[in-house]
Symmetry: C2
């Protein structure tokens, strides 16, 4: 029979259970022959911060590894183990995947992963002082990250949201300011926790009294695709219809945030509900969403961060027209928005959009900051942008 | 240069960002040639509940798929796609992995996964009425699942715990009973949420008024391995030293729960703190831990569930000795424990342990229930055991 119903435990997990149960005198060893894979260390960080990747794929003809640190071809040894050493890398968390004979796959030996909407990446840490701001530290009080659900009438869906509450929230009675923190395309509301490490970054800043205690709301910014969404043809530029459909889809997030998420948060959590106690920031697609929300409702948030933002329609015929409500009244904007901070890496493929946005704001006399960091369109930068902006909020 | 620093976006995510930014006139299509992998549907559930698995591995020589439904060899078509159809399967969530030329790997096309301590499994749902008790339903109020951290002096570690709070907890003032729910070996405190679906099961039971609102505490039951742990030789029975070390390691969980976790929960959350409002259940290793806790501290929990439990040292020389405190005073036990429920599948490799435990309790006049279900040592059973026990708690 081809399909045998014989689920069974193998390896250490089975051993632990068998030893604990001890109802069977003999623990059975793994059945399959041992391979170089069994003891393989798939990521190894040397003291000099060079990182070696390894994967067992004896029959593959070409294997590469790539992530937010770059990409490179691996070489095979006589046991079928492919390896590549990169770096030294700055202490930080990195994501990576292998590509085995053209097929992208995560590291089968590493349970630390980033889950996207339709993608998976493996993760590793290069430890060191530069990464301490984002690590789980034993000697600081920890807040909580919770997953909550709300019913969105705007999207006609049950939606998930992740919420960080600072140490002392549970069991306390104080009200806190709220920071709305948006992820990028392909991610969902888990992103800022799983790979963005927002909770640990806030824990560490709050413990060091560098940031005031705040609630951080991380919504799901990925929107349902309309059924009639025009098709994308790979290799060709997106059609005007596709662009219009995507614009319309993105615009729905403004309603979702203002009509659903903020009222839900202010009803259920101990937060202040005035714009002076509200901040918003987002990365990439979430930066674009932040800009849409803020440019259409400039009096709702006192603090704004646009990170590697998908902003500024450089080639659009309508130029500044979508933002004219925002741009025409600099005095009002400059009173209501205390920080309008734009951050982007010099190697980010969206760097020009941020520069053009800053120029447009400059031209209209709207106070803002433009920070060009090193690096590209990566979580490495976004975690640092959070670390840099959070201390300046609600002061 | 072998290692090129050229991180770039490909595929739909990049497209979304590019279209939104529209700073570049042309969206770039994927660079690599399209393969049968691009459009592959890796799990497909037919209306008759048969499930087809597919993986693109044109160079592999043998591929199989296995999970908590069984295991089978796949066959390759002329495009390099391996497939196998199994079932029909009962509506439920299932875990699976592929084994490609001897190497275990998760499904590269499926972002729904179960993360263990050192393992990954892919997951899929066979939808249907029988699975409704564990699904996220739009028309019921939802509680929250949060991750909290506490400092354990017993283990000298910062430990993570997942906590379900029922609808109405946040913003309310009521106190709730607490259910301590333990996972198995190889898992951690995420397990009962990610694969166990405890929050959704409770949401649905509470909405239907089948269960009273309760807080569910899901600790991390995986304990630090002592540095001097004796080695395990695959293929040989575990040595007496290894067994003793594992026993000692497991016994630490009793202290961890009673001295650290319960005081942390009762200090920070709105819960009742008397044994009448405390339940405990665990699966496999966690069932063993539950039995250790309860047999040594029988007056601390009014409701007890032992599921596929790693219990009863059938061959141990000391027989009933470790439990003599528990066994000698049936009257007291029968007064303090209102439900002592043992559940195990008839194909579970630990079924004999549960039967022997029930016989021992019977012999000493201790009230208990033994439920032998179908199925094996799987989350499929454990989710059902939760659904069956939770309604009977705190009544």
């Amino acid at each position: 029979m081809m399909f045998a119903r014989s689920p069974r435990f193998v390896g250490l997990v089975g051993l632990v259970v068998l030893v604990l149960a001890a109802g069977r005198a003999e623990a059975q060893g793994p059945r399959r022959p041992r391979t170089p894979n069994d003891m393989l260390k798939s990521t190894e960080v040397a003291p000099d911060h060079k990182v070696t990747f390894r994967i067992y794929a004896p029959k593959a003809e070409a294997v590469s590894v790539g992530g937010d640190f770059g990409r490179g071809q691996m070489t095979k040894d006589d046991k079928g183990v492919w390896s590549l050493t990169v770096g030294p890398l700055e202490p930080d968390f990195y994501t990576y995947t292998f590509t085995v004979d053209g097929v992208r796959t995560i590291d089968p030996k590493n349970a630390m992963i980033k889950q996207g909407l339709g993608s998976l990446d493996s993760m590793f840490l290069v430890p060191g002082e530069a990464a301490e701001f984002e690590e789980l530290k034993a000697d600081v009080p920890h807040g909580e990250v919770r997953q909550a659900f709300y019913r969105s009438h705007t999207l006609d869906q049950t939606r998930s949201v992740h919420i960080y509450t600072p140490p002392g929230y549970e069991g306390g009675s104080e009200r806190y300011p709220v920071f709305y923190l948006l992820h990028g395309a392909g991610d969902d509301d888990r992103g800022w926790t799983n790979v963005g490490r927002a909770g640990f970054i806030l824990d560490n800043l709050i413990a060091a009294k560098k940031a005031v205690p705040m609630v951080v709301v991380m919504p799901n910014g990925s929107l349902p695709r309309p059924a009639n969404m025009p098709r994308f043809t790979p290799g060709s530029p997106p059609s005007p219809e596709l662009r219009a459909a995507m614009e319309a889809m993105q615009n729905r997030f403004t309603d979702e945030l203002l009509r659903e998420i903020i009222p839900f948060v202010e009803k259920h959590y101990r937060v202040h509900s005035d714009p002076e106690h509200r901040a918003i920031a987002g990365l990439s697609m979430g930066g674009g969403q932040t800009w849409r929300v803020v440019s259409s409702h400039p009096d709702q948030f006192a603090y704004v961060g646009l990170w590697s933002a998908a902003v500024f329609r450089r080639n659009a015929e309508d130029g500044e027209k979508p933002y004219e409500v925002f741009l025409k009244d600099a005095d009002r904007i400059n009173r209501s928005i205390r920080i309008l901070s734009i951050s982007v890496g010099d190697k980010d493929f969206l760097v020009e959009g941020s520069k053009h946005l800053a120029e447009m704001l400059e031209k209209h006399g709207i106070k803002h900051e433009l920070h060009i960091s090193g690096g590209g369109h990566t979580w490495i930068n976004w975690r640092h942008y959070l670390k840099d902006l959070a201390p300046r909020l609600f002061r």
